[in-house]
């Protein structure tokens, strides 16, 4: 594919000029017109009945236009498991749950009015640990679980707190353990984390007098917002318009729909006004998705030469108070539960459990960071047990072309081995360095894999309009939250259309004008939206040829196109410029031919299936992306401080559409992984989130980030556009286990949970002594 012109080259980001000049429009930057400002009243208990809400004083407060409680507005919403209302009705299930919303003519008036709302609760016993919540005698958080509407690929257990129980039964687990010479069993724990995009959640809505709802939102997926609002509010889709601006980081927390619907009834009362809500940092941390905590137990059977014969994985996830989205993470972790390894006999039980902690939901990696933490830690222990090189154990069991996943799906375009070896070589694997001043050094590696977690029919589409001058507009429903979608998608269009990138315009989505896109999640856009765009370009190209053939009176098969003109292969002087084709669309006689040129392309997966409810067997993966992380650390054994000396990260992108942007993504994911590995943990006390600002919840900054060596591997994805697959989430997955493996290597202690804070490392060393 060396004849590619644009794909595979580094072109500047489409959004670059706007973003370095401050001109880029985020939703709060938009001057919107007559405004009302909304603020929420939040619950002060984690689990309780609402005995009384008194909004009288708030309603009378100067400037207040509307006060709404759950009773006024009991509509349900949710993506997979419809278990939420916009405002709590009768009962609150987590600390900080919105119980009322106030709209006023100023933010100040709204904030003051919120303070005037009186709420009385009757506190109920809470569930704060999913291992307790799963027990038969635990307090029930959703009494109505049996009546909730649900996508039928999830398996809640009414009468319990189990929102989903996903199973894998692959091969014969008993036999697998029989074949094993050794068996290891360990427990692992991954705490909650927060995405903390620097831009918090924001939304604005407007109801026009003719009954049209316009929504501006930081949502990652305008089409999902439209779909969920349409269903929840019973408004037809053509009456809902959802507009995305640039998004200041998503990482999963802005997936689905959450805050937009809160504002609709107020908007309906004040047609023409724009009702806006802006979450402050604390609201953002406490009131939006957290990464679900995971308590797991992993049992591995392996032979004396290091071949894994059986794996039994029990995962108990802290789904939080509502699991409308979380149920799918639990499923994804289940069907991927062997990580990057080919293991013949697998038994997995993955439970999503309601608790009275903050709502769990998607975060970059969608369960893979949490689940593969256990896998990658245990592989290390297997190697140690056998006195084998952990890299060798990984290579021996690692997936190859033709391997099967936990769900029995065959993987095709794989070079996991290369990913591992690149990072191993880079960090000087096998060479032990000694630290200075009593510090200890160690090296660690971890592998990773992820497929997009999406319904088997999650679709994409694209429209390409060729202008009269031969320039083009690409219209897609994907959002730009930093991942570089606008640029990569333009490059794909450019490649297929032979039109230079700078002659292609692309904007963020607006559901009234841009075609359907399921969601910008799961590292899927390059593949799914990219395929749609490629198809739309090919469609447009077909029209170009068709018009040219008519115009030039040359059969299509004898024509060539070089991006500027279409010409006859036999006589290049017989030609028409793209301008002529796009603009005139007519013969010299004046008879019209066809046009204007509008290419359309769509994509829906054809390689995915449902999974068997009992065995979990089937094809859940659109594509599988592999990678690896390698680190060298130096530890001060007295203070427990871990310093990262080397950090290498590889990812198999299939084809990097834009190598620079792919590298930046790789770095970004690796850094987020590093930050969670060393610092991040949301702490709760009986459901109250303790560290809900940047003073208490620390993320990595410049000082904490070493130079990263990155490797983009290109094993083409057979069905991906130009061989590409998505890589947005993946680089994060291997970092925590690689660091823990390195620290473990240096200190000879095991780590079964992270973050590896100085205190935790110190404690582990102390306990060893």
């Amino acid at each position: 594919m060396s004849d590619l012109k644009t794909v595979g080259t580094t072109v500047p980001r489409k959004d670059a000029m706007e973003k370095v000049t401050g001109a880029a429009e985020f939703i709060e930057d938009r001057y919107m017109g007559p405004m009302l400002y909304a603020k929420m009243k939040k619950s002060t208990v984690a689990h309780g009945k609402i005995v009384r809400i008194d909004t009288d004083k708030a309603e009378k407060h100067p400037g207040v236009k509307a006060v709404l409680t759950g009773k006024d507005y009991p509509n349900m919403i949710g993506l997979y498991l419809i278990d939420r209302t916009f405002l709590a009705v009768d009962k609150v299930r987590f600390w900080g749950e919105p119980v009322a919303v106030v709209a006023a003519t100023s933010e100040k008036a709204a904030a003051e009015a919120v303070e005037l709302i009186e709420v009385e609760y009757e506190e109920l016993p809470g569930v704060f640990d999913p291992r307790e919540g799963i027990k038969p005698d635990a307090p029930i958080i959703h009494e109505n679980l049996g009546n909730y509407e649900i996508v039928p690929i999830f398996y809640p257990k009414p009468g319990t707190n189990i929102a989903n129980h996903f199973k894998i039964r692959k091969g014969d687990i008993e036999e697998g353990f029989d074949q094993a010479d050794h068996v290891l069993e360990k427990e692992y724990y991954v705490p909650q984390m927060q995405h903390v995009p620097i831009e918090t959640h924001k939304a604005a809505v407007q109801w026009s007098p003719d009954g049209k709802l316009t929504v501006w939102s930081t949502a990652q997926s305008p089409n999902v917002v439209r779909q969920l609002l349409a269903k929840s509010l019973d408004i037809p889709m053509h009456k809902i318009r959802v507009i995305s601006s640039y998004i200041g980081g998503g990482f999963g927390c802005k997936a689905g729909a959450s805050i937009e619907g809160l504002l609709v009834p107020i908007a309906q009362k004040y047609p023409g006004h724009i009702i806006r809500i802006v979450f402050d940092r604390e609201e953002d941390m406490q009131g939006t998705f957290t990464r679900q905590a995971l308590f797991s137990k992993l049992r591995t059977g392996f032979t004396k030469d290091g071949r894994i014969t059986a794996l039994q994985y029990e995962m108990i996830w802290d789904g939080g108070a509502y699991t409308e989205y979380g149920v799918n993470i639990v499923r994804a972790a289940g069907y991927s539960s062997t990580g990057a390894y080919d293991i013949p006999n697998v038994k997995t039980d993955s439970y999503c459990v309601y608790t009275n902690n903050s709502i769990g939901g998607p975060v970059r990696g969608f369960g893979m960071c949490e689940m593969q933490w256990g896998i990658e830690r245990q592989i290390e222990e297997v190697a140690k047990h056998l006195n084998m090189d952990p890299l060798e154990v990984r290579l021996k069991n690692g997936m190859k072309r033709g391997s099967t996943t936990a769900s029995g799906q065959v993987v095709h375009d794989v070079d996991y081995e290369k990913c591992l070896k690149l990072v191993a070589d880079k960090i000087g694997w096998g060479k032990q360095e000694s630290g200075k001043d009593g510090k200890l050094r160690g090296k660690g590696i971890a592998g990773l894999v992820k497929c997009p977690a999406q319904p088997s029919n999650a679709a994409s589409s694209a429209i390409i309009r060729i202008n009269e001058d031969g320039t083009a507009h690409v219209m897609v429903g994907a959002t730009e939250m930093g991942q570089g979608m606008l640029t990569a998608i333009s490059q794909i269009a450019s490649e297929a259309l032979h039109i230079p990138v700078d002659k292609i315009d692309i904007k963020v989505p607006d559901t009234d004008f841009t075609p359907y896109e399921w969601q910008s999640v799961g590292s899927r856009i390059t593949y799914t939206c990219g395929t749609s765009v490629k198809r739309a370009a090919e469609d447009a190209l077909g029209q170009i040829y068709c018009i040219a053939a008519n115009l030039l009176e040359v059969p299509q098969e004898d024509l060539s196109y070089d991006g500027k003109k279409v010409y006859s292969n036999k006589d290049p002087n017989i030609k028409a410029t793209i301008r002529e084709i796009a603009d005139s669309c007519k013969k010299c006689t004046g008879e019209g031919i066809a046009g204007p040129i509008i290419g359309r392309g769509s994509f829906v997966p054809t390689n995915m299936t449902n999974l068997d409810p009992e065995t979990g067997q089937g094809n859940p993966g659109l594509f599988y992306c592999f990678g690896a992380t390698g680190v060298e650390v130096e530890i001060d054994p007295e203070t427990g401080v871990v310093e990262i000396l080397q950090l290498a990260s590889s990812i198999d992108a299939g084809k990097a559409i834009n190598p620079q942007l792919a590298t930046v993504q790789l770095h970004g994911g690796t850094i987020m992984g590093l930050s969670t590995a060393l610092y991040e943990e949301v702490r709760f006390d009986k459901g109250i989130m303790l560290n809900r600002n940047f003073t208490d919840y620390k993320i990595a900054t410049f000082d904490n980030v070493p130079h990263i060596d990155s490797f983009i591997v290109e094993t083409p994805e057979t069905n991906g556009p130009y061989g590409a697959r998505g890589i947005g989430e993946q680089p994060m997955i291997g970092v925590a286990p690689a660091i823990a493996n390195a620290v473990s290597d240096a200190l000879g202690v095991e780590f079964n949970s992270f973050p590896l804070t100085p205190e935790k490392v110190w404690r582990a060393l102390k306990d060893k002594k």
């Binding site: 610092y679 303790l690 003073t695 900054t701 000082d703 804070t757 110190w762 404690r763």
Partner: protein, 278 residues
């Protein structure tokens, strides 16, 4: 998030500021605002009036004279961290100042604000303790001066009386003859509050040690000092163990009580090794 209404006044003379602070209820001196603005947002402070003292000439004094180094209350931590005289004579204060927040914060944050806010974790406090700094206070009843150790009275509490404000902080002569180091342990090692902070200052003949984030106020490690200064303890490790007698840390989001005990001991020992060569 709290939305407050309050008044703002920018004073041009010290007496005017003192006057307002003395007469009006809930009037707060406003310096860099890096604590005040955050505290007001979180509901910790509810001022009726902010008295901006940054431009008062009396508070902008920054000089070295016979008495010592005079640091006006409006002098920022960045100014202090890169001041030649401070870096040369009392580098421990430059280190303490530099370890507060990030550059942009220190560009506004003042030394006076750091101690008036009286967080037990204030990074400049322990260095000031070991330097025997004096706090010059201006008030309705005239001026007075207090040793910094008497200035801190509790978490968020100082010896300031109604109407009083800090005019300057004095690092008296003679300056220490030996080396001093401030070591801060934190969760990220970057912009973060201290889990513990330890200042060790060699004075030539004796050592002074102070510790932050381990009690209601910063504290002197008197047991350690005594062992070294009076009893001739030569082992840093042995001396450092005694610091457990001087501190009473708690467990919070930044670290457990146990880890704090441990870290203070480690940092005291290392500080002694670096400054006393023992």
């Amino acid at each position: 998030m709290k939305m407050l209404s309050y008044d703002y006044v920018k004073c041009t003379g010290l007496s005017e500021a003192v006057d307002i602070l003395a007469k009006e209820e809930q009037a707060y001196p406003y310096a860099g605002g890096t604590d005040l603005m955050v505290g007001m947002r979180g509901g910790k402070f509810a001022p009726k009036k902010l008295v901006d003292v940054k431009d008062l000439p009396e508070l902008n004094v920054f000089e070295e004279n016979d008495q010592g180094i005079i640091i006006g209350a409006a002098i920022t931590l960045n100014q202090i961290a890169c001041d030649d005289s401070i870096v040369k004579n009392i580098p421990i204060l430059a280190e303490g100042s530099h370890s507060v927040g990030g550059y942009t914060i220190r560009n506004r944050a003042t030394l006076a604000g750091n101690i008036c806010n009286a967080s037990p974790a204030a990074d400049t406090a322990a260095p000031l303790y070991t330097l025997e700094a004096l706090i010059n206070i201006a008030g309705p009843d005239g001026n007075r001066s207090l040793p910094v150790e008497e200035f801190f009275t509790g978490p968020g509490q100082t010896a300031l009386k109604k109407g009083e404000l800090v005019q300057s902080i004095v690092i008296p002569r003679p300056f220490p003859a030996g080396k001093g180091v401030y070591s801060k342990a934190s969760r990220t090692g970057s912009v973060d509050l201290a889990t513990v902070g330890v200042a060790v200052q060699n004075w030539g003949e004796h050592v002074k040690i102070a510790v932050g984030a381990v009690a209601a106020t910063p504290v002197r490690a008197l047991s350690v000092e005594k062992a070294i200064n009076e009893k001739g303890e030569k082992s840093s490790a042995e001396a450092a163990k005694l610091v457990h007698n001087d501190i009473a840390p708690i467990t919070d989001i930044r670290g457990s009580r146990e880890y704090r005990y441990h870290m203070v001991e480690v940092l005291v020992r290392r500080g002694l090794e670096q400054t006393m060569g023992v």
